[in-house]
Subunit: 436 residues, 2 copies
Amino acid sequence: MTTTDATAELLARRRVLLGPSLALSYRTPLLIVRGEGAYLFDADGRAYLDCVNNVAHVGHGHPRVVEAGVAQMRLLNTNTRYLHENVIRYAERLTALLPEHLEVCFFTNSGSEANELALRLARAVTGRPDIATVDVAYHGNTQRLIEISPYKFNGPGGAGRPDDVQVVPLPDPYRGRFRGDGPGVAAAYLSEAVAVLDAAVDAGRPAGALIAEAIPGTAGQIVPPAGWLAGLFDAARAIGAVPIADEVQVGFGRVGTDMWAFGAQGARPDIVTMGKPIGNGHPLGAVVTTRAIANTFANGMEYFNTFGGNPVSAAIGLAVLDVIADEGLQEHARVIGKRLLGGLREIATRHEPIGDVRGAGLFIGVEIVRDRSTRAPYADLADDLVNAAVGRGVLLSTDGPDRNVIKIKPPLVFSSADADRLVETIDAILSELDAG
Amino acid sequence: MTTTDATAELLARRRVLLGPSLALSYRTPLLIVRGEGAYLFDADGRAYLDCVNNVAHVGHGHPRVVEAGVAQMRLLNTNTRYLHENVIRYAERLTALLPEHLEVCFFTNSGSEANELALRLARAVTGRPDIATVDVAYHGNTQRLIEISPYKFNGPGGAGRPDDVQVVPLPDPYRGRFRGDGPGVAAAYLSEAVAVLDAAVDAGRPAGALIAEAIPGTAGQIVPPAGWLAGLFDAARAIGAVPIADEVQVGFGRVGTDMWAFGAQGARPDIVTMGKPIGNGHPLGAVVTTRAIANTFANGMEYFNTFGGNPVSAAIGLAVLDVIADEGLQEHARVIGKRLLGGLREIATRHEPIGDVRGAGLFIGVEIVRDRSTRAPYADLADDLVNAAVGRGVLLSTDGPDRNVIKIKPPLVFSSADADRLVETIDAILSELDAG
């Protein structure tokens, strides 16, 4: 059977067996069978430069991470109702990377489970069910997380904003109401956020928690104006809401200058949630919070997570931290990210559809527009670009509410040659599409 | 450092680092470092017969399951937006084990994620937010799942029943309002359940889903009277609610006579959820439903689960199914479970505190009472028994709303010698405690 036949056959079986609400990437879906470093390989052995899978944080199939999991799987995998060294060492290592006041850990199996638990922790403290969230955010796939995710409830099939959810504006310096990096931009967005929070207080339903990503991802890799997140968390504290930093997309050194994206913005969360990159693909998530919040949550009701913090997951999480440190991946993300941003900005001077290039470290967005003056989103061109890139062996994807932002968030082992190749590929495709 | 010192040291570090709402098992917590088959081993090499970890379904560290995971981890772990053979094969194998109308799969990372998704699926079909649940049930650790878990919301730290949750009575033939196995018992419980469902319909808030375990676990391993679950699901259908079978505790052959506990009761769910044993400890969960429900759910909003159904998880899930089949573990659970029930019933004739022995296959409950005539729960004795058993190298635990039910749900590789040893151990401990 040829690979084309195998792909068609798998596709047909998948359509029958898996829920139709799960989409495949690319017009011609890929049959990926192997991964190594920043590369994925299809059934024909064709290599694809992976510019989009931030989950494979330290590189696909990193031997240290794999072997740490293998050794522990052969020895023992059980739950946290017994003592085990791994989960304790992991909690020590993780808290050592965080501000001092974030000192108590809970382990889950995903970022969704982490965000769910964060909401429960906050509610235990405040007794308030209402949640404030940032426009176009996505925080996970449970019922409640969909309800606090404007990306979903305002998107296709969404039911709109629930009464017990407050939405503060997305601080988008390119497309938002307040633009640019002037000193008043953050203040203007914060003023609107405070108005939203205060209106809810006045209406008798103050938010119990405010959840935000330091660099909103599904909104289109938006880099907020300096000071925004710190100010937003202060505004939350001012009304008694617990500030939650969702680091599921952006944590673990990806932003380069800092281990955590909230740190790069000088913000002080009382709860931090982690997922995606934390286990390099292994199902793992974490919540780290203050002792006061953890103690209040312990009201007699046990929180038990069957698989959370098991010895295998903890061994894998530890190995990921080891690799980030030993291979200097945070600094690497800073250096390569800077090179990539520079390269993308350089080609932007020659390609009218590149309306904006933004990001921090290896978390980058390239906004595709019809016209730089109107900034009208050009989703079709973004989609053409992504699909043409696959043909050239480069994996990208789009995001943002208008699906016109090219999302770049590769494994951190992405090399300078990989960065140059990505820039050249986008350059070449846009030249072709411009000419076409 | 002696093991006692190591245990004390780990305990001290754990108290500082992990949320205090996570309890350890046993008065003297165990430092478990290795697992094999039905046995766990502590740091001194002491073996414990594991009678309680149903998660390690085909035995701790089963080589076929471990090596399936190892091989796939070394090759590739990525998400379901690419095609991959494993997840398709796994979905084929899983649906082949289910009634024909259950034909579409969703994969998650835990039973909690599976039950969350099940509620979303049901709501997409009915548009109704209210959920009906069985008294003393536990369905998972998210906010919404705690809200539909009377075991939690009526337990320590619980906030009571939410307005949008309806609780039908637990069909407990030993301690409930209707007792014994007479032909009218199921009908009596069903009549009360129908009254609860109908009252909510009359109040203008009909349930959108009814979720139930075929053998309620946290309620104390309750074996309902014959026909109860089938009748309950029929009652749900009659008011337009989607019947959900939660097989997280009881699925995958544990009940012996059937692969699924709902099947053993002749019930017909429209959604089945799976967790715990599905990956032998690997974080994995699944939801299987009808094509009609899956299609209705696909309203434009994507359901994506970052780690769910990844090639490693699917390889492990497949290996678990292979081992169950190749080692005949379902039939083994039936045979050993029957022997164990017989042995426990035999010693019950000599020990007044054993008020009831019940179960199906290797999912068994032993109810400890102060007095057989009053059936007053005797939690202290149950707790003494469990802790004395640890001293004899046997791991058990308690459950039920009164914490007086000894819960027995070992890895299915439990041998007849293991079963005999468990019976002898309980016999000996009760003899000692009786004399003491």
